[in-house]
């Protein structure tokens, strides 16, 4: 399996190079974190907003932008197209679950992306010298794990919506709605503790938090050890659930596809 992934990643990276200009554009247009930052920054001009100073907002949103970049997924477009046009058949003839093909394409992008992000990160650090994080070895390690988990949950949930193309024609719309919730309850519009307390209490357990905000919260210094433990447990739960649901949908989907074919 390892050998297969190496081969697939090599292909993915080579293919990415063919599209490096397009890739750069996709990266640059991800401005939503910056727009949100502008709003909160202007609001915090006269003083902290619910305990967040301007510097806090900058630290939060710049890191959120980084997490956003490192967890982007677009597999639903590929999957939807290939299912509707019957191109999935070709992948099914190979003795390998098509999931690995799609996964490695996305992974290849994630391997290359940091190279483009580092100059941006350095620029940000120079422009905003007041950004600060609560960094301990444990938290950094947890950050990396949470980042991977966020990527996984995002990928799997989009993949599952993509598989719905086996049954319905509107799977992309459903994914759009899911994405809207991620932006709302995943910490993009506002850090989760700026929500009304009842909403925040619920949002803390929903998968959206673990698809975007949680890695940032880990190093933001606002979570106690208890919070971290609870969060980590919930994160694990959503990772496992994502995989389980994927398996369930895939088994049924492939039966559906093979009954009707393309």
């Amino acid at each position: 399996m390892f050998r297969k992934y190496i081969a697939l990643l090599r292909l993915g990276i080579a293919a990415m190079f063919e599209y490096r200009a397009s890739m750069l554009i996709w990266m640059l247009i991800n401005v939503m974190p910056l727009v949100m930052l502008a709003v909160w920054f202007s609001m915090a001009e006269g003083g902290p907003v619910a305990g967040y100073t301007q510097s806090d907002f900058v630290s939060y949103y710049l890191l959120l932008a980084f997490v956003q970049q490192m967890t982007t997924v677009w597999v639903i477009y590929e999957l939807d197209y290939e299912i509707r046009h019957g191109d999935l058949s070709i992948k099914l003839l190979h003795p390998l679950n098509p999931l690995h093909d799609y996964l490695s394409t996305n992974l290849a992008d994630k391997i290359l992306r940091p190279f483009a992000l580092i100059p941006l990160a350095v620029a940000a650090w120079l422009i905003f010298p007041t950004i600060h994080y609560h960094l301990t070895p444990l938290r950094v390690a947890l950050f990396v794990v949470a980042l991977a988990a966020a990527w996984f949950i995002r990928f799997m949930s989009q993949y599952i919506f993509g598989l719905l193309a086996f049954w319905v024609s509107d799977s992309m719309t459903l994914n759009d709605i899911w994405f809207a919730f991620t932006e709302m309850l995943g910490g993009m519009i506002a850090p989760l503790d700026l929500f009304p307390p009842q909403v925040a209490a619920v949002a803390n357990w929903l998968p959206f938090r673990f698809m975007l905000a949680f890695p940032v919260e880990i190093v933001s210094g606002r979570l106690t050890s208890q919070d971290l433990a609870a969060g980590a447990a919930a994160m694990l739960f959503w990772v496992v659930l994502a995989f389980v649901v994927y398996r369930w949908v895939w088994r049924r989907g492939i039966r559906q596809f093979s009954a009707f074919g393309a």
């Binding site: 081969a7 003839l93 003795p95 009954a259």
Partner: protein, 341 residues
């Protein structure tokens, strides 16, 4: 017995809708389904090393059968066995030993050289390095791939791409090949070389091959045995030339006349199929061929004569025409039954 199909049926449920707004509303409330029988009670077996041609008009069920054999489609009923496996289970060992080449679909990565896709396939099929290199060299030689491997696939011509696709499909040295229209869209030279390649491959590796094609030249060149399908049903399974003889118990005599006739009537010598200037084509009963030819040579001013089998295309067309006629007759009988009820 490598491939075995017993009473394979593949039905699709399609819902009918009448045209117009009223029809749309009606179909919202009351959906009527009817079965489309893509494959209807098909049975045959194929032994190792055979090259079998699948013949049939569009929509006859050929591609459906190939997809069932490769595990892409589940049968509605019937038993299917390929290399001892049930295709729909899609076992890894099964997939490693078959290949399906569909003319219109491609597996090569569009933006990169074909070689990159080959390397990935080598990993996916878990091919030992030495075997992979050997197979690649063999395929490169047989298909003339050397100048193509490093070029980006989107820069290749259709024929070059097809050759690379074929190579990609055969890297893992499958024992069973399903080729669906492998020469479609290729020019004549390319078609010949692909045909040559398939014959060579079959000889070298004793691979079992099922081939569908609209080009009779493919079938006559490669297949001793043909399976003829129409409307999902088996019409004929056996030797190609035996079929020709059975359906069309004639031979074609082509005559080139040296000069115009002196009152002889051409119709006396056989059924005239075509005349063009001084060239005439006759259809003559098989057992009377030598007699008819002898008569022509002695009585007519013949400059040149050839004796041929009638074109296979015409034979096959006749097979389908007869089947259509038989179906129509059956259909009429069914209609009568309804009416009586």
């Amino acid at each position: 017995m490598i491939i075995s199909i017993q009473h394979l049926c593949k039905y699709y449920q399609v819902h009918q809708k009448e045209a117009g707004l009223v029809g749309s509303l009606k179909s919202l409330v009351n959906r009527k389904y009817h079965d489309v029988k893509a494959v209807d009670d098909l049975s045959f077996t194929i032994d190792a090393g055979e090259i079998v041609g699948f013949l049939g008009p569009n929509g006859a069920g050929k591609t459906t059968t190939l997809k069932v054999l490769s595990g892409l489609l589940y049968p509605t009923s019937g038993k299917v066995s390929v290399l001892g496996f049930t295709p729909s289970e899609r076992r890894v060992e099964f997939l490693k030993n078959i290949t399906l080449v569909m003319g219109q679909k491609q597996q090569l990565n569009w933006d990169l050289p074909a070689m990159e896709t080959f390397l990935v396939n080598a990993a996916i099929y878990e091919l030992p390095e030495k075997q992979f290199r050997q197979t690649l060299d063999e395929l490169t030689e047989l298909l003339g791939l050397a100048p193509l491997l490093k070029k980006r696939v989107r820069k290749l011509s259709l024929g070059e791409r097809m050759k690379c696709e074929l190579a990609a499909a055969l890297l893992h040295r499958p024992k069973v090949l399903f080729l669906d229209e492998p020469t479609i869209g290729l020019d004549v030279t390319m078609q010949t070389s692909v045909r040559q390649f398939i014959a060579d491959y079959n000889r070298r590796h004793r691979a079992t091959i099922i081939l569908t094609s609209h080009y009779m030249a493919d079938v006559t060149a490669l297949c001793k045995r043909v399976i003829v399908i129409d409307h999902g049903k088996l019409l004929y399974d056996g030797d190609l030339h035996a079929l020709a003889e059975r359906i069309s118990p004639h031979k074609l005599i082509r005559v080139q006349l040296a000069h115009s006739l002196n009152g002889q009537r051409l119709e006396d010598y056989g059924e005239i199929v075509k005349t063009r200037g001084q060239r005439v084509e006759f259809l003559v009963p098989r057992d009377a061929t030598s007699q008819a030819a002898a008569r022509m040579l002695s009585e007519l001013p013949v400059a040149d004569v050839t004796i041929e089998e009638p074109a296979i295309e015409d034979v096959i067309t006749r097979v389908f025409e007869e089947a259509a006629r038989a179906r129509a007759e059956r259909g009429e009988a069914e209609e009568n039954e309804d009416w009586e009820e």
